[in-house]
Symmetry: C2
Subunit: 256 residues, 2 copies
């Protein structure tokens, strides 16, 4: 399989970065070659993978804005089997800096083209928005994984997201598929989370992953150590659930 | 006191809307006249205050984009003592729609000028970004309240936010003060939250509020019922903490 996955949700704080980091390390742990592309100006994925906050440059910005070839900004082996292109603050100016550029929604796609075959999985950690950079990720990606915390309005937010993606498919002629919808930070004691999840399952059918990631404080601790959950707390529930995610993602990617 | 408060953080999911809704209802419960201005295209504050998702129009968009006077979009008594200007999806186009408008950062300020004296507190619920609409909120507001979840990188994110506000003060000649920094969704079992909070307190001194809002599932449930915590679960810890916040905000606003 060779698959580029955009990890998305326009709602903030829904476990996208946590999923990106742990899925990447988990896939590499199964022997796959993985590239993480950090597309959030906050650089949370880069920092969670152990990069120091004064070492984020050179980042994806050099390639997107200055024309540096992408291979010159790839950092090899940030974790075993995981390469990384970092993000940095300047990425938040993308909409302005690329406003006049021709083919500005295809920039990332064109940049990554020469290196795509070097990886089994390319994971893009997106910011919580539907601006030019996340659009670039959806144009470049083969499939998208939406991270959803089953709280009030999560279902409505997902439907808006799905509609926005459908419009993009038409406007940009892209063919990004659903890898699926992943429930994250599930709190079983939140009375309504099961009814939110049931409504989403009813609406999106088999696009909803079987794996559910529940709250586990270990998942919130791991970034402090610049480690994945598999390294930080291999015996934890969080590690078990993200292990299940790795299996399910591998399986689903075979059938996309 | 007469105070307009922008509730901010460029990081997503840090309890801004939960704080806006509960602070608004809490202040009204002390006899103050309160206006909530929903400035997030996701309209979470409007929905959490009981507005149906097919009844979000007319919203702040009519005033910002179409020149409708703001008094025509104010909904009175959405909760006792609380008026509301809703948001809607179209607000996410603000940067594009107002790109060429003169004085585009002062639009909200100018719109709210005629109604400012009718309220003791005006609370603006901002999206997690530093784009044109949140900038409008900071230009219009007397003070800002940053909501911070003490997780990895929260301190770094806050320093970036503080620098961005400092630049705005210089560039826009505004004088927005710190109401303060509020710790939200504090999870005492997260090993590092106390060290993150200690670093923030050391850095920001008395700008950090004494009140801490910890995790309480009741706070996540209340939006499902379109109610504040004071109505949904008046005996809960969440209600007690937000009650403390109301007291502390009233006190601090006297001294700004
Ligand atoms: N299953 C979980 N259990 C406990 N904490 C979690 C879990 N998943 C994520 N977190 C924590 O919740 C916070 C938000 O998660 P994360 O940063 O992954 O979300 P995000 O969607 O990438 O946010 P943003 O929209 O800001 O990019 C982080 O502090 C993270 O460590
Ligand atoms: N103290 C708390 N305890 C438990 N759940 C909370 C608490 N505060 C907020 N929540 C829940 O966490 C989620 C995120 O909170 P909220 O929507 O207030 O954040 P936000 O900063 O406004 O997010 P956004 O960046 O998307 O606007 C919501 O489901 C909310 O109900
Ligand atoms: Mg993230
Ligand atoms: Mg909000």
């Amino acid at each position: 399989t060779r698959m580029m996955i955009a990890i998305i949700n326009n709602k903030g704080g829904t476990g996208k970065t946590t999923t990106c980091v742990n899925l990447a390390v988990g896939l590499a742990g199964r022997g796959h070659r993985v590239l993480v592309v950090d597309l959030d100006s906050q650089a949370s994925a880069s920092l969670a993978l152990g990069v120091q906050d004064d070492a984020l440059s050179p980042s994806i910005c050099r390639a997107l804005f200055d024309g540096t070839p992408v291979k010159d900004v790839i950092r090899s082996g940030i974790q075993p089997g995981v390469d990384l292109i970092t993000a940095e603050m300047n990425l938040s100016n993308a909409d302005l800096l690329l406003a006049k550029a021709a083919g500005r929604e295809r920039r990332l796609n064109d940049l990554l083209a020469p290196v795509r075959d070097a990886y089994d999985y390319i994971l893009c950690d997106c910011a919580s928005a539907l601006s030019l950079v996340p659009i670039n990720a959806l144009v470049a990606a083969d499939c998208c994984l939406a991270c959803l915390t089953p709280e009030h309005l999560a279902h409505e937010g997902l439907r808006m997201l799905a509609r926005a993606i459908a419009r993009l498919r038409i406007n940009m002629g892209i063919d990004v598929q659903w890898l699926g919808i992943l429930f994250t930070m599930v709190n079983p004691r939140l009375r309504h989370s099961s009814s939110v999840m049931a409504k989403v399952r009813e609406d999106f059918g088999r696009n909803v992953l079987t794996t559910e990631i529940r709250r586990d404080v270990k998942l919130a601790e791991a970034p402090f150590f610049g480690r994945s959950i598999f390294h930080h707390a291999p015996a934890s529930k969080g590690a078990k659930w993200y292990g299940n995610l790795v299996d399910e993602v591998i399986e689903r990617c075979r059938n996309i």
